[in-house]
C-alpha cells in the first residue's frame, strides 16, 4: 500500500518535471531548424496578414519550421507583459513584434536587441525606406527593427451627409476651421460634433491637434528630451484642444474607438479623429467610402504623415539567429510587405510597393499614393514612436486628470514636467 503511494507520488513529480521541461524549452533548437516569432496579431486582418506571411515563409524555406508565438489581448499589452518575462529570464523568441521607434528604447537600453545596421545595408533598406523614417527609428546611430507596415494616426473621418445637413461644404483644413465646423454641427444638427472614446482616444486626438496647431517641425521638437512645453504656442494648441473637447459626447469614457468610429459611419456623429485602422473597421461594418464616411488629414496636418509602424526585431541571444534573419528578410522585402499589408489594412513602409495590390480599398489606394509622394514625417507619441513608455504614461495620466477636472493649466504644467523629467 505504502509502496504504491510512493510510486504515485514519484510519477506525479515526474510529470511535473516533464511539463515544466517542455514549458521552458519551447524556444529550443539552436540549429536554425525552426524560427519562433512573437507577436500580438491574433485576430482580424492582422492575423490574416501574418498567416499569409507564414505561408510564404514556409514555401520559401521548407527546412525551417515556423513557430507562431502570438499572445492575444489588450492590443499588445498582454503580449508585452509575457515578452518582458521571457527577455528577463534570457529566453527570448527568435524575433518579436514591436512598435518601431522609442517604444523599443527600453529594450535597447537593457541590451535585449541586436543592432540591424549590417542587415539594413545588405537588404538595401536604407534606399527602400524613406530617409526620414530611418532617421526617426535610429537610436544612438543604429537601427534595431525592420518596419513592415505604416499606419497613419492623423486622419479625420467624417460623415458627408451630416456635414451637408450642417451646411459645411468642405472638411475643415485648419484647427480653427474645425472648431468653427464643430460649432456649426452642434447648432444645425442633432449629431455629436466630435466622437471620441475612452481616455487613450483622447490622447490620440491630442497628438493630432498638437501637430495641426504647431506644425511638423515644432511637433517633432516637442519630443526631444528636455523640450520646452511652456510656450504660448503650446498653450494655444491646448486651448484649441479644449474647444474641440467641448463638442465631444458625454458618454465617451464608456466607449472605445470602434464605437466612436461607428457613430460617424452611422451618421450619429460628424467627425472622429482616429488612426487609419478605422478604414478596415468601416469595411467590416459595410460602410461605403465617400457616402457613409469620408476622410481627410486631420486639420492643419495636410502633407504630413503622422506615422506608426509595426516592426520585427532580432533579440540578443536569439536561439536561431540565421533563421530569424531569414524571417526579417521576408518582412523587409517588397514581396513580403505587399503580401502582408493589403490584408492587415495598412501600407508598406517601403516606397517601392506596387499600388495594384491596394486598389481594392479606396482608403489604402489614396494613402499609398500620399506615402509614395514623399510626405513630411512626424512620429505618433501615443503609439510609441517618439517617446518611451514612461513619458507616454505621464502624458496619458495628465490627460486623464484633465478629463476629470477640466483644468487646462494643470494639464500644461503636467506636460511641461513630463518633458523635463526625461
Amino acid at each position: 500500500m505504502r509502496a504504491r503511494r510512493w510510486s504515485v507520488a514519484a510519477g506525479a513529480l515526474g510529470l511535473v518535471l516533464v511539463a515544466s521541461g517542455c514549458g521552458g524549452g519551447g524556444g529550443g533548437g539552436g540549429d536554425n531548424a525552426q524560427v519562433e516569432v512573437f507577436s500580438w496579431w491574433t485576430g482580424g486582418g492582422e492575423e490574416a496578414g501574418l498567416n499569409a506571411l507564414i505561408e510564404r515563409f514556409e514555401t520559401d524555406n521548407p527546412e525551417i519550421g515556423f513557430v507562431n508565438a502570438a499572445v492575444a489581448g489588450g492590443s499588445g499589452s498582454n503580449a508585452q507583459a509575457v515578452l518582458e518575462g521571457r527577455l528577463q529570464s534570457q529566453d527570448p523568441p527568435d524575433s518579436f513584434q514591436g512598435h518601431a521607434g522609442a517604444e523599443l528604447q527600453d529594450y535597447i537600453e537593457a541590451g535585449y536587441l541586436s543592432p540591424l545596421d549590417d542587415f539594413f545595408t545588405e537588404q538595401g533598406l536604407h534606399e527602400a525606406l524613406p530617409d526620414q523614417l530611418v532617421e526617426q527609428i535610429t537610436y544612438d546611430g543604429s537601427v534595431y527593427s525592420v518596419p513592415v507596415n505604416i499606419h497613419r494616426s492623423n486622419v479625420m473621418w467624417y460623415n458627408p451627409s451630416v456635414l451637408e445637413e450642417a451646411g459645411i461644404d468642405a472638411p475643415p483644413e485648419t484647427p480653427e476651421d474645425l472648431v468653427a465646423a464643430l460649432e456649426t454641427v452642434a447648432e444645425e444638427t442633432d449629431a455629436i460634433p466630435m466622437a471620441v472614446g475612452a481616455q487613450w482616444t483622447v490622447d490620440h486626438l491630442l497628438e493630432s491637434v498638437l501637430l495641426g496647431s504647431l506644425g511638423t517641425d515644432a511637433y517633432n521638437a516637442l519630443w526631444e528630451p528636455g523640450a520646452d512645453w511652456d510656450t504660448p504656442e503650446v498653450t494655444e494648441a491646448l486651448t484649441t484642444f479644449e474647444q474641440i473637447m467641448e463638442h465631444t459626447q458625454e458618454e465617451s469614457a464608456a466607449e472605445d474607438w470602434q464605437e466612436a468610429a461607428r457613430r460617424v459611419a452611422d451618421g450619429e456623429a460628424a467627425f472622429n479623429i482616429m488612426g487609419d485602422w478605422a478604414a478596415g473597421y468601416f469595411d467590416e461594418l459595410g460602410a461605403v467610402a465617400g457616402e457613409d464616411y469620408d476622410w481627410a488629414a486631420s486639420p492643419g496636418t495636410e502633407g504630413t504623415y503622422m506615422w506608426l509602424s509595426d516592426s520585427f526585431t532580432l533579440p540578443v541571444g536569439a536561439p536561431n539567429e540565421e533563421a530569424a534573419l531569414t524571417w526579417l528578410e521576408l518582412v523587409g522585402s517588397q514581396e513580403g510587405q505587399d503580401i502582408f499589408n493589403p490584408l492587415k489594412g495598412s501600407i508598406p513602409a517601403r516606397e517601392d510597393a506596387d499600388p495594384a495590390n491596394y486598389a481594392d480599398s479606396p482608403y489604402l489606394e489614396s494613402a499609398l499614393a500620399e506615402w509614395q509622394a514623399g510626405p513630411q514625417l512626424a512620429g505618433s507619441f501615443w503609439h510609441g514612436v517618439t517617446v518611451g513608455n514612461r513619458w507616454k504614461n505621464d502624458v496619458d495620466t495628465a490627460v486623464g486628470l484633465y478629463l476629470g477636472d477640466g483644468d487646462l493649466e494643470a494639464l500644461q504644467d503636467a506636460l511641461v514636467t513630463a518633458a523635463r523629467a526625461e
Binding site: 499589452s77 508585452q80 507583459a81 518582458e84 528577463q88 527600453d106 537600453e109 537593457a110 541590451g111 442633432d190 475612452a198 481616455q199 487613450w200 459626447q249 458625454e250 458618454e251 469614457a253 464608456a254 472605445d256 450619429e268 513608455n389 514612461r390 504614461n393 495620466t397 490627460v399 486623464g400 486628470l401 478629463l403 476629470g404 477636472d405 494643470a410 503636467a414
Partner: protein, 331 residues
C-alpha cells in the same frame, strides 16, 4: 503547551494495557527520553515543513523582496538600485495620480462593503423569517458568486452606460422608458463619486454570499433564546435587535474582512468596466501600469507595499481578536 502532547504520546507509545509491564523496566536514559519526546513532535513537523518552507519562500520571502525593491531606486529593470529609504513611499503622495487613486479606492470600499453588508443582512433576515420557497431564493441570490468579476464587469458596463436621455442605453434607457428621466445619470464616469456606481456590480455579486453568512449566523442562534425573549414580552424586532444581532458579531467581522480585502485589491472589475482610465483609477490598476507598461519595479513595489499594508489593517485586528478569543475560551 508541551505537557499535553507528551501525555498523549506516552499513551500511544505504551498503550494503557501495558502500563504495568513498563513499570518493571529500568528508568530510560536521557537520550532515550529525548528520542521518545522527538517522536511526539517530529512527524508533525516533517508533515508541515514543506508548506512552511513554501510559504516562507513564496509568501514571506516575496514580501521581503518586494519591500527591499520598494526601498530602492531601481526605477528601470536594468538599474542596480541603491537603498533610498522611504523616498518612494513619500514621492507617491506628491503626485496627482496616487491620491486620486486612493480616494477612488476609499469611495469604492465604503460603498461596496457597506452596500454588500446591508443587502446581505437584509436578504438573510428575510430568508430567516421563513419565506416560502426559501431554497430557491437562496440559490438565486448566491448564483452571482459563480460569475467572475470580468463577466460581471462586461455586463454592467453595458447596463451602466452613461449616455444622456436622447441616446440612452442600458439602465438609463430603462429609466427613460418609465419616464424617470431624473434618474438618468453618469454612473461611473461622474468625476467625484463615480466609484460609488462602480461598486454596484460588486455589491450585486457579493451580497448573496454575505446573505449566506448571515443566514448561517441567524440559524446558529438557539430557538430557546428567542423563545425566552418572547416570553419576556419582547417584540419580534426586539428579539433580533437585542438577542440575535449581538451574537452575529463574529459573522459581521468575517464579512467585513472578506469584503474589505477584496475591495482594496480590486482590479479585474475596474479593467472590465473602465479599462485603464484615470477616472476609475485604483491602486491595483496603477501598480499594473507601473510594472508592465512603464517598467518601473521600485514604484510598482511601493504601491504593492501600500496595498499589503492596507489589507493588513483589515486582517491583523481580526487575527488578534481571534487569538484572544480562543485564549479566553481556553482552547
Amino acid at each position: 503547551m508541551s505537557t499535553a502532547p507528551n501525555r498523549t504520546g506516552a499513551v500511544a507509545d505504551g498503550g494503557p494495557g501495558r502500563a504495568p509491564a513498563r513499570a518493571a523496566r529500568p528508568a530510560p536514559t536521557p537520550a532515550r527520553r529525548a528520542l521518545r519526546r522527538a517522536r511526539t513532535w517530529l512527524p508533525g513537523l516533517l508533515l508541515v515543513s514543506p508548506s512552511i518552507l513554501l510559504i516562507g519562500v513564496f509568501v514571506y520571502g516575496m514580501i521581503g523582496w518586494n519591500t527591499n525593491l520598494a526601498l530602492s531606486d531601481k526605477h528601470a529593470p536594468i538599474q542596480e538600485g541603491e537603498f533610498v529609504g522611504l523616498a518612494n513611499f513619500i514621492a507617491l503622495w506628491q503626485e496627482a495620480r496616487w491620491p486620486a487613486a486612493v480616494g477612488n479606492a476609499v469611495v469604492f470600499t465604503v460603498v461596496f462593503v457597506g452596500g454588500a453588508l446591508f443587502l446581505g443582512w437584509l436578504l438573510g433576515l428575510l430568508l430567516d423569517k421563513g419565506i416560502r420557497g426559501e431554497p430557491v431564493f437562496r440559490t438565486l441570490f448566491l448564483a452571482p458568486m459563480a460569475v467572475s468579476f470580468i463577466a460581471t464587469g462586461v455586463v454592467w458596463r453595458w447596463l451602466m452606460n452613461p449616455a444622456p436621455a436622447e441616446r440612452a442605453t442600458g439602465l438609463n434607457a430603462l429609466f427613460v422608458r418609465f419616464n424617470l428621466d431624473f434618474l438618468v445619470n453618469d454612473w461611473w464616469t461622474a468625476p467625484d463619486f463615480g466609484m460609488a456606481a462602480m461598486a454596484l456590480p460588486a455589491i450585486w455579486q457579493l451580497a448573496g454570499y454575505i446573505m449566506a453568512l448571515f443566514l448561517a449566523g441567524f440559524r446558529g442562534v438557539p430557538e430557546e433564546l428567542r423563545e425566552a425573549a418572547r416570553v419576556d414580552g419582547c417584540s419580534e424586532w426586539g428579539v433580533y435587535r437585542h438577542v440575535v444581532m449581538p451574537q452575529l458579531r463574529p459573522v459581521l467581522l468575517s464579512a467585513v474582512i472578506i469584503l474589505g480585502h477584496m475591495s482594496l485589491k480590486v482590479f479585474d472589475l475596474i479593467i472590465a468596466i473602465a479599462g485603464q482610465q484615470i477616472i476609475a483609477d485604483v491602486p491595483a490598476v496603477y501598480m499594473w501600469a507601473m510594472v508592465f507598461e512603464v517598467r518601473d519595479p521600485a514604484k510598482g513595489a511601493t504601491i504593492a507595499s501600500y496595498l499589503l499594508f492596507a489589507v493588513a489593517l483589515f486582517v491583523i485586528p481580526y487575527l488578534v481578536w481571534t487569538v484572544r478569543k480562543e485564549r479566553s475560551e481556553g482552547r
